[in-house]
């Protein structure tokens, strides 16, 4: 059995991975990598590390004459504060559907945007809202109360 002598490579019978192909693939690969990394970098930029927003904790003086079940809305805040015999409690007035501000009525809350309705304890009674209005943490400080919009408490918690 004779083996053929090894022929000189020609362009009609190239080596398995010609140098030109290797360089081409390397160029394409490095470009793809660079694009990928820069794409991630560019996506990272719009997501702020720190976002400026007003303080979510505020102190409020309740009016002396606040009948049970009547909402007191502190100026500039999306919170309804109530006081009855058992204590003070605060319910967020931001609709859990799409963030419109609900209006406090004697028998509950109504949303103007998509028709959600809530009972006076915040439970959903009609419309598309997926969750009840959250109760917010209230703590007493002297004669006034401090309300923390970021901390929710169980429905029915009164201070």
């Amino acid at each position: 059995m004779t083996t053929k002598p090894k022929e000189k490579p020609s362009r009609f019978d190239p080596e398995p991975l010609p140098r030109r192909d290797f360089l081409g693939l390397a160029a394409l690969g490095s470009m793809a990598l660079a694009l990928l990394v820069s794409a991630f970098g560019m996506l990272r930029l719009p997501k702020a590390a720190v976002s400026a927003s007003p303080a979510k904790k505020f102190e409020v003086d309740l009016p002396d004459a606040l009948p049970a079940g009547e909402a007191f809305v502190p100026p500039g805040r999306n919170v309804a504060v109530f006081r009855d015999a058992e204590g003070v409690y605060a319910i967020s007035t931001v609709c859990t559907h799409l963030g419109c501000i609900v209006k406090a009525l004697p028998n509950g809350f109504e949303c103007p945007c998509h028709g959600s309705g809530f009972a006076s304890d915040g439970a959903v009674t009609k419309g598309p809202a997926p969750k009840p209005l959250p109760w917010l943490k209230v703590s007493a400080r002297g004669n006034s109360v401090v309300i923390d919009e970021e901390t929710t408490v169980a429905s029915g918690t009164k201070v």
């Binding site: 702020a48 976002s51 419109c100």
Partner: protein, 515 residues
Amino acid sequence: MENEERTALNTFWHNLRAVPVDLYRAMFRGGAPVTDRTRSSFVFGNVFLHLHSVRTHLWSLRWTATMGLGIITTAAFLITLVTGVLLMFYYKPYPDVAYQSIKDIHFIVPTGRFIRNIHRWAANVMVVAVILHMARAFYTASYRKPREFNWLIGWGLLVTTLALSFTGYLLPWDQLAYWAITIGANIAQSPREITDAMGITDLMDIGGLQREILLGSDIVGEESLIRFYLLHVMILPIVMAMLMAVHFWRIRKDGGLAKPADVNERVSVSQPEHYPVFTEEPKKTYQLAAVVKGRTPAVGSGPENTVPSMPHLFYAELGILMFTTLVCVALALVSDAPLKELANPLVPENPAKAPWYFLGLQEIVSFSAFMGGIGIPMLCWIGLGLIPFLDKETEGTGEWFGGPGGARLTLWSMVYGFATSIAVEAFAIRFGWLREWFPDVPQLVITFLNPGTVITALYAAFSIWALRRFNSTRAGALALFTCFLCGFIVLTVIGTYFRGPNWVFFWSPADWNAH
């Protein structure tokens, strides 16, 4: 003496006087478009015109082929581009300041109100035209091979148009703008409705991330406004321009508009009002068989039934451009763009209504935030994109309501589409929905079973019936597309005219005060 006159100074004077003529000739090298050759070079010698083919088929020039809807859309876009740049002279993207600057544009800037009105009306015209244009492409089955990709580009253009409209009405920072941003951002956050129900929001909060990227903050404020401004004046117009370039280019590369297979028996070039085919004998012939793609090599004949694009196509396009401008200007003269009160983060308007083209969406969002705002729109959008890949039949291409079932099926689909959506809406308005009957029903049930999803399911069922009845994917597509178009109209009309304060049903806005 002659030599004396050819001094450099004389040549200089001679050249100087010839500048206007030479400049004109340098710009327009082809000469007046009066022969086949000059008419051709008029097209391909001009960077703005060369996206067109040199010759246009008579079928495509018929008024009923396109009704000019694509050109109307393009014209409206160009008008918004020009007027938008003008508005940027005075507009300042900062909360409250933005509102004052729009007021300045409206009341103080010379022609400011007029330009803003044109901008607003052209945007509205564009939304209408782009929807009708899509319907035209669908009903003439123009999405079929080789035009599948161009249908997808159009699909992207539809979304870009709506995104431009949405980001546009946010900029005045009035009550409409503020609450639209709030609602839009919360729709982006609404996947939480699903992740909350599954209890995985802490692990994977897609909704929260989308909202944060969109707003640039956890509240609607200066960061949000500058983001929507950037989208409106830079990112989206660039996307739009690029998609449009590809869209136009592909029309030509795909062989012009879709035409029936037997188109050449239907139109004839012998009509006397057209510039004739080939007035001159071709002086040279080329072997193009290896270059030109197509089913029928045109051996021994000229390009069948085509006329020069200059003047036939260009004058038609110019006419439509002028018509669109006229419509926008006329509407701008009779109706002012709205500007509500300054944004008030504490009190939404009641009712808080989006512009008309989103009121259908607002109507289904009032059933479920996730399904109405993301689920059903995504379903429609993906369904639209898949049309050319699901219907690969050839019958009826290029003809209005072509394909099995045809105009008759379209008519019945219209009846069904209107009846179903009106019936389901009427039922929900009269009798309420699950929450009113069973207060403890889980949210996930309402998310997936609400009037919006019921209408969608009924439409899908009808489409499957049509598909089986005619044994044709085209019939299924005709039924489904027509139904969704009708549903869109019904929901938009209800949202616009029959919803009042607290999104309650009213027969007429005159009754709103009784509330």
